[in-house]
Amino acid sequence: MLLKTSPLPGNYGLYFNGWTRDTTLPAYTTFIHHPIGDIKKITVDSGSAVIHPQSINWQAQFGISPPNTHWKIIPDYGIFQPGSSGSPLFGPGKRIIGQLHGGSINQGDPCIINSAFFGRFDHSWNVGGDPGTRLRDWLDPNNLNPVSQNGYPQPIAATFTISGNIQAHWGAPMKNVKVQITGGAAATVYTDSLGDYKFEGIPGGSNYTITPFPRQRRPERRQHF
């Protein structure tokens, strides 16, 4: 789980996935992932996921997961690979029901997945005894105890105008000064005869830096007599 500490740029066109704690066995499941850092892939299990009734030994430092903490699926289309871990598992309602932890790949044919195990979202909701180990403190800060949350597209950011003026320090307006905006948007404008400038249609929710640039001095032709 990631906590964003600054506003997301309004022009990213993001979609925030929904989630559900409903433990009804999903009739089919889908997960979306980036195996070995590859471009986005979609894997589908057309059969019902089940709650894995046994413990899972992840070996080494990852330890053993208790019984009934994971969804088990066997994909019909697509596989998973290292790098897919953490990918969301979606139920028929297109909401997240789990996150990929690992599984078993056929040793003779790596395109055959024996099983894929996804940590149950509903289990993660309230596991452990503090906000560092459970989701509910972060996804339900008002303690309303929702069972599910629908996904939603990133709200279209309102746009604003950033304007200003450039004068010599003794008050004379400076025209034709190049001014750049960078950050959530990038553009260049020039001051008018009053030294004014403005950037219009700048998406809200982002950080910006406004920088004037001195005029480029043209190389002088040296004359020799």
């Binding site: 304007s163 910006y208 004037p212 005029r215």
Partner: protein, 110 residues
């Protein structure tokens, strides 16, 4: 001449912007080295200041803690940072100063 008077303490500048404008080599001080650099530009020995731009722009709202000694504190960044824009922002104003110009005779349009 004015810069030399300031250096010698005969007549101090009446504005922190003039002091910064005098610092032609961006050493955060005003010395005879700045006078030399300015003369070299005027005489055409330098096409431009080696370590400075012809104009510098600072946020107009910046307030010097000691206007008589602007280099005693860090100068402000030569840009304005706007965080988490949530409305129209109308105060992105800058003051420009021409390097070497301490009597306000530079043409802002050049």
């Amino acid at each position: 001449m004015l810069i030399s008077k300031h250096i010698l303490g005969l007549e101090y500048f009446d504005s922190p912007w003039k002091i910064i404008a005098s610092d032609a080599n961006r050493s955060n001080s005003v010395t005879t080295f700045d006078v030399v650099e300015i003369r070299k530009v005027i005489l055409g020995i330098f096409n431009a200041f080696p370590n400075n731009s012809s104009w510098r722009f600072f946020p107009a709202f910046f307030s010097f803690s000691d206007p008589t000694a602007p280099f005693n504190s860090p100068l402000p960044p030569e840009s304005i940072l706007i965080t988490n824009l949530q409305g129209n922002y109308t105060g992105a104003n800058f003051k420009g100063l021409k390097t070497g110009d301490v009597n306000n005779t530079a043409n802002p349009d050049e």
